[in-house]
Amino acid sequence: MFKFLSDVVTNATVSADWIGIRAVKDIARACAIRDAHPERNTQQFDQGAMVEVLAQGQFGYSATNNLSAASLAAAIVSAYEQAIAASQWAVHRFTTEVRPKATGSYVSPHRKGLGALSPAELNQILLQVCDRLKVSDKIAQTTASARSHDIETWFVSSNGSEIYQRDYLIETHFGTIAQDGPITQLRTDHGYLAQSYQGGWELFPGLDLWQRVQQVGEQALELLRADNCPDLATTLVLAPDQMMLQIHESIGHPLELDRILGDERNYAGGSFIKLEDFGSLAYGSGLMNVTFDPTVPGELASYGFDDVGTPAKREYLIRGGQLERGLGGLESQQRSHVPGVANSRASTWNRPAIDRMANINLEPGDRSFDQMIANVEHGIYMETNRSWSIDDQRHKFQFGCEYAKLIENGQLTRTLKNPNYRSITPQFWHSLSQVGDRSTWEMYGTPFCGKGEPNQLIRVGHGSPVCAFDNIEVFGGAV
């Protein structure tokens, strides 16, 4: 593939400053079961190439699913023409420094291949999951699904880049809706497809699968009988499967340099963070240490290089509460003069790379879960995201969870349903009062981070310990 793509670039007829081709092949399988019947059994073969050309300081692109040499050669011409037509209106005169030469490879860690579990076997496991979720007649719906992806990427360029990456991905989900008259309650395995990782079928079914299935079914019933979360300001303790969302929405997105530079203002929005805040702003409490880390084995958005060839590297975004670095690739770094990371990423071959999160993790603190709860006189402990909404500057947010426990005098007591909380990002992170230790740290992922024009859904990973926040407004649902 490298020789084929390199020959296409070498034989290009346009006088561009730089030409690159990123070819992607994605082989995917998905299976979904609902209420003991198959909902979906699919396989997908997708391939195509993103051709990018830099001319007169402007990038143009042309993406095609026709990988013949003639089609790619035509795409180079088209991308060149796009660049020339827009060059007099360029938002920034880019140089080839934003596409340095890079070579190397990356393969997801895995012990079993993606053929290790046949579709028939997978269907049987998921049928069994649905069967075991139905712990009562009050279980109105059971769902279980699994997806695998084998994604190969080849990146070549006119300045000699040659990068090969292969991602093996497993994404699984199960959940149930319990119903008693007008009351319905959802309980899932840490949120929709939150169990998304890099690896092979060694990840599923895991050793604790059946225990988790049983617990999800029983907790759905438990929620039917639970009181509503009260309306008050109190200590809020968040489990890692909610911290994932909290980190994503109120740290990841506001730190994206393209949002701060204005590219996203018409769609996803801007940010309350300004370029001059990097290096000077106290983002949150001193307990807050946040890393951009695409090198964590098995985390969903790990890679060796981003989609323009920047080598992946772990970097602190926030250290001791202080904002150090933005989430911006080489283009945003050249435009903003703010230190960034290797995060120019595209959802697949038919979208250009933009600034994205990869793995954004909150580093562990020094408290065990029991110690944290013991320190809370009154509070609410919440698990598993079910609702999320935040403003276009990533300031005012309201998030909801599936399951909660009241904390009274240092102990978890009654179960609560419909737990929600709302706050404003800087106030919230400054109220961080306890950070759990490594024993509380868990890692999840999502394939559904949406952003960009044209829109792109991309995979991100988030790891976090349990965290506690003081004086947060919590509330419940209708009685």
Partner: protein, 460 residues
């Protein structure tokens, strides 16, 4: 300004349509040659585009390019079992058929190993349709100059997306459908120096420069109103006017755990209480599917053609859910040929009595919301939705705009704003185009009026 594309597309799409038909015929012939044409059923769909995307920031080009993409999805059904496979669609039979033939063979091997699916929908009927909407849109090399010259002094940001979109359907029963449309959308925002913004959208099959300039002028006028000092609104309940674009955002929630039959049956709907008679909506509120003049196919992935109009909520009563043939089979009810996902494809909310020049007077005192942002259920079974105000939103007193507002978070039930809190709707509708581009450019639009509601709840 150069108008183009239509001529190019007119030359290439018959080829794509023909190749798609040849591929469907080839599958049928293969099954016949295997002696399986009676026992094995199939559907074949195609979805593709040849699109231009140009992205703007500060009246400059941030990214520009084009995407030529297409996929074929083959679904094989035999002995109450089914599976699907998707492969690229190039539009060249010699390239596409070998991949599709391989997929057919793989699915034929896979399907017998799968569990029985009692609700599998076999293709039946003899429906055929062909819809072609070509127009004149901007040529790729004219986009930057045409759009940016009139706005080069403004902080203009957004995206132009335009070109060909096509969808096709064929099955073993002989049904055939084809839909293609040359269209564009320009979704933009204008910002002022204080980062306050207004939103505008133009879309259609014909680029109309004067219409674009008119939209820009409207946005500039609105932005000038945003220059007044912003008013901070305390949390609480306020009489509120939601402009059509804001209503369209609320309408999206009806397709997400809303009016689909499967969601209603499985306890996953905000309108379960409406069906059970435990909550009510206003008799002033009527929602229907209306495919008349909608820029989206009427056929679904089962090859069924939806009725031209279908009332969903009629004067506050849930008279129809969206029922796919799969749900019809499972829940032993009648299909109304909804999509597999049972989402609204051509929603229309009927009008009320508030004239455009009476909106502020009827609001009298409260909030005027042009747009909403980032909606999500906060209490799904009770229809409660949270989200943010965005863009041109104002505080109104004595029937006049007093000041723009700082963005507010709302948290309100659809049972309130379309129920007891609904005062009236406007006597006009606006067509709000689908502009999303996840995976590929979307199709369709919503036809919605503005609504006037009492005691709309703001929480942060």
């Amino acid at each position: 300004m150069t108008m183009a594309v239509a001529d190019n597309i007119a030359g290439t799409t018959p080829i794509k349509e023909n190749v798609f038909g040849q591929l469907a015929d080839a599958i049928a012939q293969t099954l016949t040659s295997q002696g399986l044409s009676v026992s094995t059923h199939f559907t074949l769909t195609v979805s593709g585009e040849n699109s231009q995307f140009t992205r703007f920031n500060r009246a400059r080009v941030r990214q520009t390019g084009q995407v030529d993409d297409g996929t074929l999805t083959l679904t094989v059904m035999q002995s109450e079992r089914t599976a699907s496979g998707t492969v690229p669609f190039i539009g060249e039979f010699d390239t596409d058929w070998p991949r599709l033939k391989t997929t057919l063979a793989e699915l034929q091997t896979l399907v017998p190993q799968l569990p029985v699916d009692p609700f599998v929908v076999l293709p039946t009927g003899s429906a055929t349709s062909r819809t072609v909407n070509h127009g004149e849109i901007l040529a790729a090399d004219a986009i930057a100059t045409t759009l940016l010259s009139p706005v080069h002094t403004l902080d203009f940001t957004g995206i132009y997306a335009g070109g060909l979109i096509f969808r096709g359907y064929a099955d073993s029963a002989g049904q055939r459908h084809w839909f293609e449309s040359t269209s564009y959308s320009l979704d933009f925002s204008l910002f002022d120096a204080q980062n306050r913004a207004v939103k505008g959208t133009v879309a259609g099959n014909q680029w109309q420069q004067l219409h674009f300039l008119d939209k820009i002028n409207q946005a500039k006028h609105q932005l000038a109103m945003m220059a007044r000092p912003a008013k901070t609104i305390d949390r609480g309940q306020y009489r509120t006017y939601l402009a059509p674009a804001a209503v369209a955002e609320l309408l999206h929630m009806f397709s997400w755990g809303g009016v689909g039959e499967a969601d209603l049956q499985q306890g996953n709907s905000a309108f379960g209480l409406l069906r059970q008679g435990k909550r009510q909506l206003s008799p002033k509120f009527t929602l229907q599917e209306n495919f008349d003049q909608a820029n989206t196919p009427r056929f679904n992935t089962y090859g069924e053609v939806a009725p031209l109009q279908l009332p969903i909520i009629l004067k506050g009563q849930l008279v129809n859910s969206l029922v796919s043939s799969r749900s019809a089979k499972e829940y032993k009810t009648q299909s109304n040929y909804a999509s597999r996902r049972e989402h609204l494809r051509a929603p229309e909310v009927l009008t009320g009595t508030v004239a455009s020049d009476q909106v502020l007077a009827r609001l009298e005192r409260g909030l005027y919301l042009s747009n909403l942002h980032y909606l999500n259920w906060s209490d799904h079974p009770n229809g409660r939705v949270t989200g943010m105000t965005r863009y041109a939103c104002f505080w109104v007193e004595n029937g006049e705009i007093v000041a723009p507002i700082e963005n507010l978070r709302f948290d309100e039930s659809l049972y309130h704003c379309f129920g007891e809190g609904l005062v009236d709707l406007t006597d006009f509708q606006e067509t709000v185009p689908t502009i999303d581009t996840y995976d590929r450019r979307g199709l369709g639009d919503s036809r919605v009026p503005g609504i006037l509601a009492n005691d709309f709840t703001y929480t942060l």
